[in-house]
């Protein structure tokens, strides 16, 4: 069994990174950082978007090479020059952006790069069998024979974690593994992690959710702008102190709920159905009305139709029945470009795939949909580059997006910063109807606070907002009404004032709304 014993593998009692420096064009991403992790420990790494967490970990995993500094395993200077060397040395990593091949099945993705037990022939049946054992044991359900592209994001995350478990690393790096998990899934993951540390493994855990870090870790290292602020034992830390260490100033962690100023009917869905990627009915006769000046939160376990719901409204997925209306006008089947003209904005959950063009610069991505509109064109057809740059620079300042400049290719920004840019772009268009899917996934607390404030501002200005999130805290903090999805249906809509976390959680697991 791969995971139960470490005997067959190398152990890592202590791993130290010393004086690590990594310079990217225009950014000193990691600046003389010392970091240490020991067997049996969960060491959390905290920091704002762009603080250098992923970069530091990619150096440890051999993906990037440090300009300066050393890695010591059990006191011995060990150069890890490639992911292959890392895997050989017992270091595993679950990446922030999924490292799965969409066209391959789950089992094939796991078998990728592993020695086959049958030499030159693949042993997918063996892999599937062990995978099933693991997923049963850790309660991480996946079907080994499904191609990965058919899986929802949360399920893909499960595959990533399972794959790491399968390989059974002595040191496991988890770069924001909980960003796409539901509270229940997080609980399950934490049990797995605790079991792993009890086995004598070392774990590095990155998350923007402070309560998770406080709950699971023994020590916390905080990075800011590439430098290590401090390493502290978790027992002495609180949310407020951590937030302040990360951001460098006190942060608002709770919002005031102002009564909603409900306007007219803006978005109306009537019995809308749609197919999922798998070709099954992923959205089943959903009816929903959102009024101006209101935030409707959609809660649910990943893969219960939320993605389909957002995409259907945004015009990116065809309907299989039912109608969608904006301001009373039937828009069923209209393409995204027309919906945008009617005032619809969409913040997609898969920002790397659906939100940006990776090779484009920040400025180009910022005007992706609006390049044909004032003030970004002059003389009717020429791009007004100055106006584009200015608008993008404003957004970068307002949203505190960390980037060397407007001309930097967006793919070299950190995950959270890409999300901020997409958010800035969509809100800059002052939408009438806003679909925000996981708007703060992978975003640090400082920026989450800002994004939440902006959503509340939009609400005050009369925008109808559909907020889809797996972060129940976020839903509870912002929504006026909460719709819970289960197996493609909305199983109930509860006004915020009457909702409790327990009740919503139960509905997410399929319980009907109890009318009290």
């Amino acid at each position: 069994m791969a995971v139960s014993s470490l005997a067959e593998q190398q152990r890592i009692d202590q791993l130290q990174m010393r004086g690590i420096v990594k310079q990217f064009p225009g950014v000193l991403a990691v600046d003389h950082v010392d970091f240490e992790v020991r067997a049996g420990e969960i060491h959390a790494l905290l920091g704002e978007n762009g603080a250098g967490k992923s970069t530091l970990m990619k150096i440890l995993y051999g993906l990037y090479h440090a300009d300066e500094g050393a890695v010591l395993i059990d006191g011995v200077d060990t150069a890890i020059r490639s992911p292959y060397a890392a895997i050989q040395r017992g270091v595993g990593m679950v990446h922030q952006h999924f490292m799965l091949v969409p066209s391959l099945t789950v089992a094939e993705n796991v078998a990728l790069g592993l020695k086959s037990s049958r030499g030159w022939r693949l042993d997918l049946d063996v892999v599937s069998k062990r995978l099933n054992e693991l997923s049963e044991r850790y309660n991480l359900k996946v079907d080994p024979n499904v191609p990965v592209w058919q899986l929802a994001v949360g399920e893909q995350q499960r595959v990533e974690i399972l794959r790491a478990l399968y390989k059974g690393a002595a040191l496991l790096i988890l770069d924001e593994p909980t960003a796409v998990l539901t509270p229940q899934e997080v609980d399950e993951l934490f049990q797995v992690l605790e079991q792993m540390t009890a086995d004598g493994r070392a774990i590095i855990f990155i998350s923007h959710k402070l309560h998770e870090v406080l709950r699971i870790s023994q020590r916390i290292t905080v990075l800011r702008d590439g430098r290590r602020v401090d390493t502290i034992p978790t027992s002495g830390a609180t949310k407020a102190t951590l937030a302040e260490m990360m951001v460098g100033r006190p942060v608002v962690l709770e919002y005031e709920q102002q009564p909603s100023n409900r306007g007219g009917e803006r978005l109306h869905l009537n019995d809308v159905s749609a197919l999922s990627n798998r070709g099954e009915l992923g959205l089943k006769e959903v009816s929903l009305t959102i009024y101006g000046g209101e935030i409707v939160g959609v809660a649910g376990v990943s893969g219960n139709g939320q993605t389909e719901l957002a995409q259907v409204i945004a015009g990116l997925r065809p309907t299989k029945g039912g109608t969608i209306a904006i301001d009373g006008k039937d828009v069923t089947g209209k393409p995204p470009s027309q919906l945008q003209l009617l005032g619809l904005s969409y913040i997609p959950e898969e920002r790397m795939e659906d939100g940006v063009i990776k090779e484009f610069t920040c400025a180009e991505n910022f005007v992706l949909q609006d390049h044909g509109r004032k003030p970004y064109v002059s003389a009717g057809f020429l791009l007004n580059l100055r106006a584009i740059t200015d608008a993008c620079r404003d957004a970068i300042r307002q949203y505190e997006i960390k980037t060397p400049g407007t001309e930097t290719p967006i793919k070299s920004l950190s995950g959270g910063n890409i999300q901020k840019l997409v958010m800035a772009r969509e809100l800059s268009r002052h939408p009438q109807v806003l679909i925000a899917a996981q708007p703060t996934r992978g975003v640090d607390i400082g920026a989450s606070e800002y994004i939440h404030q902006r959503l509340l501002d939009e609400r005050r200005q009369g925008t109808a907002i559909l907020l889809i999130s797996e972060d129940l805290d976020e839903i509870m903090a912002l929504s006026d009404r909460i719709a819970v999805m289960y197996e493609g249906r909305i199983v109930g809509i509860v006004p915020r004032a009457q909702a409790t976390v327990r009740q919503i959680g139960a509905m997410m697991a399929g319980a009907e709304l109890e009318v009290s």
Binding site: P83, M99, L104, L112, W120, R121, L122
Partner: protein, 308 residues
């Protein structure tokens, strides 16, 4: 009339003519599955054809001829891989350079070393015992009276399919062509895999050349391949990056070629341009209606860079 046109000999010719397409296209398919488009197949085929022919001419050994073609392919393949994978060249352009190099170089070598076209005695037909005597529907003549390279080329198809589907190597190739970042993160060397497939592809292109110059035509002359290598690239697309699809395309092409030969042999007057065009028209139509569900490697023509 129809019996004349669709004589067993036409089908036998069809299989023979499919050989160079199969070698070249299956080889090219491997490169593409890992994300590298080698447009220089034609040039490599010419080099392979020349060396095979020249070696047989000088030594009389067919085995050495085949080895010569494989080595020519190997050397060209290393160059192609270096330019496309290590130097990350624009693949649509570098391939044209490879083609022109092979075209010019094979001609130069031919003129200096051989001079005028001379024929060699190439691979003789191998009559497979018993099977080659089957008279029913001409099966013996169609399938079991070919030279060795024909059998090898057709054997390559199921072997390739097996390698891609059922071996760790095939899995790596597919992963590298679909998501090189992911393959890289799993400890697979994207560079190494791409070198392997490109070099293998080039060696198969060399063999494709040999199948012309020491098995099918038994002569070498300037621009012997006349576009065959480019058709092989189109066949990869036609076959949707699947070995059996590629085979289907190769058979379709060579069947039209064989028909053309037969029609002119029995003296029917059809403009030969028509027969030359037909396969291309068929390909385009097939591509338009082909299922969108393909194995097209998403990273095709995209050099890999960790972005460090």
């Amino acid at each position: 009339m129809i019996e004349n046109i669709l004589a067993p000999s036409v089908f036998a010719t069809c299989l023979r003519l499919a050989t160079p397409y199969l070698f070249a296209a299956i080889g090219e398919m491997f490169g593409q599955r890992s994300g590298v488009l080698n447009l220089g197949v034609e040039g490599i085929m010419l080099m392979g054809a020349f060396f095979a022919h020249y070696v047989v001419l000088s030594t009389g050994s067919l085995l050495l001829g085949v080895i010569g073609a494989l080595i020519a392919g190997l050397v060209m393949g290393i160059a192609v891989a270096f330019v496309n994978v290590t130097l990350k060249a624009e693949q649509g352009i570098s391939g044209i350079g490879v083609y022109l190099f092979g075209l010019g170089m094979s001609e130069l070598l031919f003129k200096t070393l051989v001079g005028t076209p001379r024929s060699v005695s190439g691979f003789p037909p191998l009559h497979i015992p018993v099977l080659s005597d089957i008279q029913f529907l001409g099966i013996g003549q169609i399938f079991f009276q070919h030279n060795l390279l024909v059998y090898v080329a057709f054997a390559l198809v199921p072997i390739s399919a097996y390698v891609l589907r059922r071996t760790p190597l095939g899995l790596m190739i597919r992963a590298v062509g679909q998501n090189p970042e992911a393959a890289d993160a799993m400890g697979i060397s994207v560079t190494r895999v791409r070198y392997m497939t490109v070099i293998f592809g080039a060696m198969m292109a060399g063999l494709a050349g040999a199948s012309l110059s020491i098995a099918l035509l038994n002569v070498f002359q300037q621009n012997l391949t006349s576009g065959l290598g480019f058709i092989a690239i189109a066949l990869v697309y036609f076959g949707r990056w699947r070995p059996f699809g590629v085979m289907l395309g190769a058979l379709l092409f060579s069947f039209v070629n064989a028909l053309q030969l037969q029609i002119s042999a029995i003296g029917i007057d059809v403009p030969s341009e028509f027969a030359v065009m037909a396969p291309y028209v068929i390909t385009i139509i097939a591509l338009v209606f082909a299922s969108k569900q393909t194995e097209k490697p998403t990273a095709l023509t995209k050099p890999f860079d960790r972005g460090e």
